[in-house]
């Protein structure tokens, strides 16, 4: 390509580290040092500075796509991170602005200029994945009690969760470092009026997940609970009963950063280098807390 003005004033940088304007539109330009005045030609395979000016591509006819980037061996486009010092001034950028901040989140201002949004990222966002229901806990059978990873003394000789006691149940067989779980919680063979509380981290909250009012009842309720970590187990919930009852937990869905974390069903593979949120802390089991339905 011919260079109409001042090619000798530009340094040529590494191949592929090219520079230029943004697609159907603008883009403040440039890669590294090679300074050039606004109005100089952009050189392929080199870095070019446009100073503080914006380089714009505009169509000569309506409906044209302005810029196509094609790389058969690697990425086509890189947006160098916008430094933290540019915030919050960047909020006044024009509609259609796209940037990547210094922690890797992509931002954009909507076409109507009414809002800024940040693209959901596996580093902090989460999505809901439904599964065929799996019975993660059934205190009535030895097999159903296998997921209990806390002290089994909380169970009576029949396997019922004792009144005033709590257990920790691991769901690691079904999910890797999940954020939360949706499930159906059931009380069976109740021994009197009572309730169950399910929680995932910290001390037992003053809240109930399932209530009943007499002995011999079978009742269920949907629960949505954060998952915590306990020792080597990274996806656990704690269950507390204020009166003795058998307990069933049938899991129907996990909330995760990426569907590949769910081990049940036909989930997509994890992308390389997937960044995930950290799990919450372990549930604190205090069986002597005051009970409240």
């Amino acid at each position: 390509m011919s260079n109409p003005k001042g090619a000798d004033r530009r340094a040529f940088l590494k191949r592929g580290g090219a520079v230029a304007a943004g697609a159907a539109v603008t883009g403040a330009v440039v890669a590294s040092p090679a300074a050039a005045d606004p109005g100089d030609a952009v050189i392929l395979g080199a870095g070019t500075s446009a100073g503080d000016a914006t380089t714009s591509l505009r169509p000569s006819e309506p409906g044209q796509q302005m810029l196509a980037l094609e790389n058969t061996e690697g990425p086509a486009l890189r947006l160098a991170p916008t430094p933290g010092s540019a915030f919050p001034a960047v909020y006044s950028s024009e509609p259609g602005t796209v940037l990547v901040d210094q922690v890797g989140d992509m931002w954009n201002r909507s076409a109507d200029g009414q809002q800024w949004g940040w693209v959901w990222s596996t580093a902090w966002a989460q999505t809901s994945v439904s599964i065929d229901p799996v019975r993660a806990l059934d205190t009535r059978t030895a097999e159903g009690r296998q997921a209990i990873v806390s002290d089994r003394s909380a169970l009576d000789s029949a396997g019922r969760l004792r009144g005033g006691q709590s257990i920790v149940v691991s769901l690691d067989a079904y999910v890797t470092a999940g954020q939360s779980v949706k499930a159906n919680l059931t009380a069976v063979d109740t021994t009197g009026g009572g309730y169950l509380t399910v929680w995932g981290s910290g001390p037992r909250p003053t809240a109930s997940s399932l209530n009943w009012w007499a002995a011999g009842q079978v009742l269920s309720a949907f629960v949505f609970v954060p998952l915590g970590a306990s020792g080597a187990f990274r996806s656990v919930v704690a269950i507390h009963a204020n009166t003795a009852t058998h307990v069933l937990l049938d899991v129907t869905s996990f909330v995760v950063a990426h569907p590949s974390q769910v081990k049940v069903g036909d989930q997509p593979p994890a992308p390389p280098g997937l960044a995930l949120r950290a799990a919450a802390g372990a549930p604190e089991i205090h069986s002597n807390q005051e009970d409240s339905e």
């Binding site: 403040a28 796509q65 947006l79 916008t82 509609p95 693209v119 809240a207």
Partner: protein, 260 residues
């Protein structure tokens, strides 16, 4: 400037489509601005335009990307999910936001305190509005467990968040002396009372006398940052997200909760 001329930095360049090709591990094009955003895609008003695969473009709620769904198939355009157009479920430690039986349990009521009898039960036809402020902001919905206790006979409760009473039930009971619960997923809305607007509320209607308890277990939000219990874990202190204002989900008139 016209077709065949060089692209000039810092200028307006007018031409047909320009293609840059490369074949290496480094990006074909890098845009770098150490004082502000690196790229702007000017919204197009030409809706006849059929974009090619890989086209990135802004719309009213964020960014779209066009792709092919198979060889020889037409292209499809999808909206990239972002805090401007989507809601994700975020669980919280169970939090009691209503218990008609206790003074502490009535602390979040902004309407309906007069609909509770001397035994702490909702009266028949009670309408409660619960302020969720401090737990969440700009919630589209919530997950909760609703419980009826001290029932006096058959009845039902409805949990909802916007508009008028929907004519549905969330929890039903059939006799006196019962204690029953159900999981609920409801919209959240905003409510105005005594000249004050509350941005995150949920309502409960109770058809017959019963003690009512509502324990919130999660929210539908654009970002876990909007949930107080998970905010600290969802963004580092240096993340601009943590300092950003909640511009993504302003309340619209149709989100207003209306007394039955």
């Amino acid at each position: 400037m016209s077709d065949g001329d060089p692209l000039l930095a810092g200028q307006v360049n007018t031409s047909r489509s320009t293609t840059i090709r490369s074949a290496g591990p480094e990006p074909t094009l890098t845009l770098d601005n150490d004082q502000g955003p690196a790229l702007r895609l000017v919204p197009s008003s030409d809706y006849e335009f059929t974009p090619g695969p890989g086209t990135l473009a802004p719309n009213q709620t964020g960014l779209t990307v066009t792709h092919t769904v198979g060889e020889g198939k037409p292209t499809a355009t999808t909206n990239i999910l972002s805090s401007g157009n989507g809601y994700m479920p975020v669980a919280t430690p169970p939090t009691r936001v209503l218990d008609t039986r206790t003074a502490a349990g009535r602390a979040r009521l902004i309407d309906g305190r007069g609909d509770i009898d001397s035994q702490g039960r909702a009266v028949g036809g009670a309408f409660f509005v619960i302020n969720l402020g401090g737990l969440v902001r700009s919630a589209q919905g919530l997950f909760a467990t609703v419980t009826a206790t001290k029932t006096a006979g058959s009845g039902y409760a409805t949990v909802w968040g916007t508009g008028e009473w929907p004519g549905t039930s969330t929890l039903n009971w059939w006799d006196k002396g019962q204690v029953l619960s159900n999981g609920v997923l409801s919209e959240c809305g905003w409510y105005e009372v005594n000249g004050t607007t509350y941005n995150d509320v949920v309502a409960v209607y109770v058809s017959a006398p019963a003690g009512i308890v509502l324990d919130v277990t999660g929210f539908l939000v654009p970002d876990p940052l909007y949930v107080a219990a998970t905010a600290a874990r969802s963004a580092s202190a240096v993340s601009p997200r943590a300092a950003a204002k909640a511009t993504a989900t302003s309340r619209r008139p149709e989100h207003k909760l209306v007394r039955p």
